[in-house]
């Protein structure tokens, strides 16, 4: 059964009462919320996701709700509960759906240590995965969104789940978080892109989420070999340029961008080294999405 099998009315009712159990990549997320924007965004952006119907184990128990104080009448807020504890301060109610996405990222980064987790986008074509680590603002999510819209399979726009063997990456496809100018860039890049509503004035500026393609969700159990690790950087008016990056330097970049290397320690070192042994590493500068995707297509062609 998929989330789209529920009508919006049924989804709202279940979210308010017993909650739903969403299968997101290797995880089952138990979610409750009485907030209308969370319900409608889930209906729009998570419609292809399978629901876990049995009474089995949930990896994360999340609830987003408005506290029942008089404040809800003049400046309503959203609170994020993880195992009924609040790890974050409340946010304006308009930021409720982004808070779900950020909160789930936090849960995974903090509690999932069976994988080495790198802050990066991951996409696959022709059985070859590319990991795109990058600092915020480097253009990683924009490139990731555009690649997905041009037929690449999205494994994640936020985190690479690297197996301890270092050879495989596990998909965890989620809506792609676009920020500020990227939102209209992607809308113009592909008119068929399905985006959720904009949330203004968040800590990351204006945010909107792009729905993953159906193929990404249905193939979420298919892990894949990593062949390239590429550090993308958007640079206005630049030509697409790949520059070979030394592997010790790329290892340092992976460590810098890892959520749990300090927890994984030796097994994280082993996994990252094996990952790089089998991968080619590049710095990438780009400005034209169509052109850079053409080059990336050529990279995985043979």
């Amino acid at each position: 059964m998929y989330l789209s099998d529920l009508s919006l009315a049924q989804l709202k009712k279940e979210l308010q009462q017993q909650g739903i159990r969403l299968r997101i990549g290797p995880f089952v997320v138990s979610l409750k919320s009485s907030i209308a924007s969370v319900q409608s965004c889930l209906s729009l952006l998570y419609d292809s996701y399978p629901l876990a119907l049995d009474e089995g184990f949930s990896d994360f128990h999340i609830r987003l709700d408005t506290p029942p104080s008089y404040r809800r009448f003049y400046k309503p807020q959203v609170r994020f509960y993880f195992d009924e504890r609040e790890p974050f301060k409340p946010l304006p109610i308009a930021h409720a759906f982004p808070l779900f996405e950020w909160g789930l990222n936090w849960c995974i980064a903090k509690y999932v240590h069976q994988y080495l987790i790198i802050h990066s986008a991951v996409l696959e074509k022709n059985g070859k995965a590319i990991i795109l680590p990058g600092a915020p603002g480097a253009g990683k999510s924009t490139l990731c969104a555009a690649m997905m819209l041009r037929g690449w399979r999205l494994l994640s726009d936020e985190m690479a789940l690297i197996s301890p063997s270092g050879q495989r990456v596990r998909p965890i496809p989620r809506p792609v978080a676009l920020k500020n100018d990227s939102i209209e860039i992607i809308r113009a890049f592909d008119k068929s892109a399905v985006l959720g509503p904009k949330s203004y004035d968040t800590s990351k500026g204006t945010v909107a989420h792009l729905r993953p393609t159906h193929d990404c969700i249905t193939r979420a159990d298919e892990d894949v070999n990593v062949r390239f690790v590429i550090m993308p950087k958007y640079q206005k008016d630049s030509h697409t340029k790949f520059m070979q990056l030394a592997k010790p330097e790329m290892l340092n970049q992976l460590i810098r961008n890892s959520f749990n290397y300090n927890v994984m320690r030796e097994s994280g070192f082993d996994a990252a080294c094996k990952l790089l042994d089998q991968s080619e590493c590049f710095d990438l500068v780009y400005s034209d999405l169509g052109d850079v995707i053409k080059h990336l297509d050529e990279l995985v062609m043979f």
Binding site: P248, L251, F269
Partner: protein, 107 residues
Amino acid sequence: MTSSDASIPSDSGRWYVNSALFQLKWHQWEEGYSVFHTGSGETHTLDDLSAQCLKLLESSPSNIPELSAKLAQSLSLDLDDDLHEYVDKILQQFEYLGLVEKKRVSI
């Protein structure tokens, strides 16, 4: 070696990797080495020469003249003041990173 030999640094203590407290986990690349320090959880990048210094200390404690001689022999380098100076500097960096310690000479 004696302290009267002016070409030899005065330091006669031996440097070593304290394997009772931590291990070094190595990975070799075409472009050098990465080494994971199990004690600190830090990962360090080393070029071929500094990696060889650390590996030699890992196999047996040495003072600067001894380490310079081993390095010169293993990598076919001239055993001169420049090499002593390099070894002295790299040992200071290793010590700063917690990779090596210096045994004090017991009297």
